[in-house]
C-alpha cells in the first residue's frame, strides 16, 4: 500500500500537534511564598562549628545517638551529608586564602517556597505550610523516592534498611515548636547567633543591611532569596557558595514550573487525540469502502461487457448462419 496524500497530511498534523502541546506552557504567576511565613538566616561568618545544632536536632527529633559524641569535632574534617539519623550536618570548608579562617556551614532541608519534593510527590505526602516548614506525612508515603530525585539540594534521605515501614527523613524546621511560638531547636541552642529565626521578609532585609554595612565581610549575595524560586532558609557568607558545596547554577525557576509545560499538554492530548485518531480511522474506512465499491462496479461492468460481448458474438453467429 502506498502512502496517500491524505494519509501523509494526517500524519504530519499528528506530529505537529504533539510538538505544539509539549512546548505549550501555562500562564506563569510568581509565587513569593506565604505572607508572614518564617525563615532562618544562617550567617556562616559567625558559625564556629561547635555542632550543638546537630545535638539539639538529634534530641528534639528523637533520632538515634551517633557513634561518636557531638562534642567530637574531628568529624568536621570529613565532608558529610544529611542521613536518616542526622537531619542536619555541619561541614568545614577551607578558605583558599590561607590567612583567613575556614568556614563552617550547616546544611539541612532548605524548605523551598515552592518545593520540588512536594511538586513531585504523587500522593501529596509533602506540604508547604503557611508557617514556612515543608512537612512530610509518613502515613501516606508509598516510598517511590521521586522526591529525592527532584530535590535540587539532595536533602531527603530514605530508610533503606527498614523492610516494612521505611520513611523519607528530613528536617521539619521544628514545625510543631514554631506553631507553639517556640524557636526551632537548632536556632534555640546556637551560641553565636549564627542562626537567626524570624519572618522571611524581615530576615532578607536584615541580611541586606548586614551586607551593606560590612561589604568586606560578606559576598553580595543572599543564598536562598531566589534559588529555585526562593527558600525559607537563607545564607550569607564571606566564602563563595560554590566553595561551600552550595550549587550556584540552580537557577531561579521554581521546581513546579519545570514540569508544568509537560503536565499542561495532558488535556490537549486527551481532547485532541480522539478526534484526530477517529478522523484518520474514518478516512481510511471510507477509502476502503470506496475501493470496494469501485472494485465491485469494475467487476460488474466487466461481467456485463463480457456478457454483451458474448451476446454480440452469438448474434453475429446467428446472422452469419442466416447469410
Amino acid at each position: 500500500m502506498s502512502i496517500s496524500r491524505r494519509k501523509f497530511i494526517s500524519w504530519i498534523s499528528a506530529g505537529c500537534t504533539s510538538l505544539i502541546c509539549t512546548t505549550a506552557h501555562g500562564a506563569k504567576k510568581q509565587f513569593k511564598g506565604y505572607p508572614d511565613s518564617f525563615g532562618i538566616l544562617h550567617d556562616t561568618t559567625i558559625c564556629i562549628g561547635c555542632r550543638r545544632c546537630e545535638d539539639a536536632c538529634n534530641s528534639v527529633n528523637n533520632l538515634p545517638a551517633p557513634e561518636k559524641p557531638f562534642t567530637d569535632l574531628s568529624i568536621l574534617d570529613k565532608k558529610r551529608r544529611t542521613t536518616t539519623k542526622a537531619y542536619t550536618v555541619v561541614n568545614k570548608y577551607e578558605n583558599k586564602d590561607k590567612n583567613k579562617a575556614s568556614v563552617f556551614r550547616k546544611s539541612q532541608c532548605n524548605h523551598c517556597l515552592e518545593p520540588a519534593c512536594a511538586s513531585a510527590c504523587f500522593v501529596k505526602a509533602f506540604k508547604k505550610t503557611k508557617e514556612g516548614p515543608v512537612t512530610y506525612d509518613p502515613k501516606v508515603c508509598v516510598g517511590c523516592r521521586y522526591c529525592m530525585i527532584a530535590c535540587p539540594f539532595e536533602i531527603p534521605t530514605y530508610e533503606y534498611d527498614e523492610p516494612l515501614t521505611p520513611r523519607v527523613m528530613k528536617c521539619t524546621m521544628c514545625h510543631d515548636l514554631i506553631k507553639k511560638d517556640k524557636l526551632p531547636a537548632c536556632v534555640e541552642i546556637c551560641p553565636t547567633g549564627s542562626l537567626k529565626f524570624g519572618k522571611r521578609d524581615a530576615l532578607i532585609k536584615y541580611a541586606r543591611e548586614r551586607i551593606s554595612k560590612f561589604p568586606d565581610r560578606y559576598i553580595d549575595h543572599i543564598y536562598g532569596e531566589h534559588e529555585m524560586g526562593g527558600t525559607s532558609w537563607l545564607y550569607i557568607s564571606n566564602l563563595s557558595f560554590n566553595e561551600m558545596g552550595m550549587r550556584e547554577d540552580l537557577g531561579i525557576t521554581p521546581a513546579p514550573e519545570l514540569t508544568a509545560g509537560a503536565l499542561g499538554a495532558v488535556p490537549v492530548v486527551v481532547s485532541l487525540w480522539p478526534v484526530l485518531l477517529t478522523g484518520i480511522y474514518a478516512i481510511n474506512r471510507r477509502k476502503e469502502k470506496l475501493a470496494e465499491r469501485e472494485k465491485a462496479e469494475a467487476v460488474s461492468s466487466a461481467v456485463e461487457a463480457a456478457k454483451a460481448g458474448r451476446e454480440k458474438v452469438s448474434l453475429d453467429k446467428v446472422r452469419g448462419s442466416d447469410g
Binding site: 500500500m1 494519509k7 506530529g15 504533539s18 510538538l19 509539549t22 512546548t23 544529611t82 542521613t83 520540588a116 512536594a118 511538586s119 513531585a120 510527590c121 504523587f122 500522593v123 501529596k124 505526602a125 501516606v140 508515603c141 508509598v142 516510598g143 517511590c144 523516592r145 521521586y146 530525585i149 527532584a150 535540587p152 539532595e154 534521605t157 530514605y158 530508610e159 533503606y160 534498611d161 527498614e162 523492610p163 521505611p166 520513611r167 550549587r247 540552580l250 537557577g251 521546581a255 513546579p256 519545570l258 514540569t259 509545560g261 509537560a262 503536565l263 499538554a265 495532558v266 492530548v269 486527551v270 487525540w273 480522539p274 485518531l277 477517529t278 484518520i280 480511522y281 481510511n284 474506512r285
Partner: protein, 390 residues
Amino acid sequence: MFKNGNSTVKSIFTPFNVITGIIVLFGLVLTVVRFTGGLAAVSNLSDYNPWGIWIGLDLLTGVALAAGGFVASAAVYIFGMKKYHAAVRPAILTAFLGYALVVVALSYDVGIPWRLPYPFIIQQGTTSVLFEVGICVCLYLIVLFLEFSPAALEWLGMKKIRSLVHRLTVVLTIFGVILSTLHQSSLGALFLIAPSKLHPLWYSSYLPVYFFITAIIAGLSMVLFEGALCHHLFADKLDEAHKQEKDQIALGFGKAASWVLAGYFATKVVGISADNNWHYLLTGYGLWYLTELLGFVGLPCLFYAIGVRERRLTLIRWTAGWTVMGIILNRLNICIIAFNWHLPASERYFPHWMEIGISVFLITCGLIVFKYVVSRMPVLYSHPDYKETH
C-alpha cells in the same frame, strides 16, 4: 486444539525448563531477602541515588519496549494497514506482559508496595508527573488486557464474549494510543524536574518528545526483533498466512523505523542547538553521547534504509536488535549513567548483583508466561474458527 497434537508427552526437564526453573527458584530467595531485609539488603540504592536499574531498566526500558502494542495496533486498526495484521497479537501480548512486569518490578522498588493504590484512592498528587504516569499505566494495563482477551477467549471457546470484545477493537486502540502518548512522553518528563542532576546533553525541555519518539522506534523494532525470535523458537506455531506476512512486516516496519529514527536524529540535533550544548560534545560525556546518537540512532537508521531498499531481511532483523539495544542504552543513560554526573565517583551508583538478579528473575518470569501463552492461545496463528473476522 489446533496444531497441538504433536507436542505430546515430553520430558519436563528441557533445557528451557531447567534454566528458567533455577532462575525462578533463585529469584524467589532474593524476593524473600528483599522483603525481610529492606531495600538495603539487596540493592546499592542510596540517598544520592534513589533510583537504580529497577527504574532505569525494568520500568523505563520495559515500558518503551512494550510500545509495540500501541504502534502495531494503531498501524493496523487506525491507519488501515491491514497487511500487517499478523504483527498485532504478538505485540499486544508483549505489551501486556511488559506492563504487568513493570508493576511487579515497581513493587520491589517502592518502599511500601501495598500502598501503590494510595495516589488514586487516598490523596491525588496531581502536580506530579509520576501521578500522570501511574494513572496512565494503570488504565493502559486494563486496555491491554481487553485488547489481548480475544485471543484468550478464542482459546477458551467463549465465542459470545469474544465477539463483544472484538467489536471494541477500534475504541480500545484509540484509548491505547492516547494513554501511550501520555505516559511514554511523561516518563521523559519525570526528569524535567532535575536539570541540576542530569547531564545537559541528555537534559532537554524536549525530553517528553524524545521519549515518545523513541517509544515508537522501540515498538517498531521490538515487533521485528521479537518476530524474528518467534520465527526461530515457535516455527511450528506459525500458520501460512503469518509466515507470508512476516516479510511484508519486516519491510514495512523497517521502513517506518528508518524514517522515525531519521526524524529523531533531527530533533536531537535541534535539541543540542536549542540549548547550545555543542561544547559538551568534546568532553568524555560528549563522546559517550555521540556513541549513542551516531552508533545507536544514526547507524540503525542507515541500516534499516539499506535493508528495506535491498530487501535484505536478515539485515533488517539484526538492525532491529541493535536498535533495541540503543533504546536500553538511552534509558540507562538518562536514569543512571548521565544522572548525578556532577557527583564524585565514590557517590555514584552501580547495581548490586542482587538487583541484577531480581531483574533477571522478573524478565525470566515474563518469558515463561509468554511461552505458555504462545504455545496455547492463537497468537502466532489465526484461530480457524475466526479467520474471516479479523
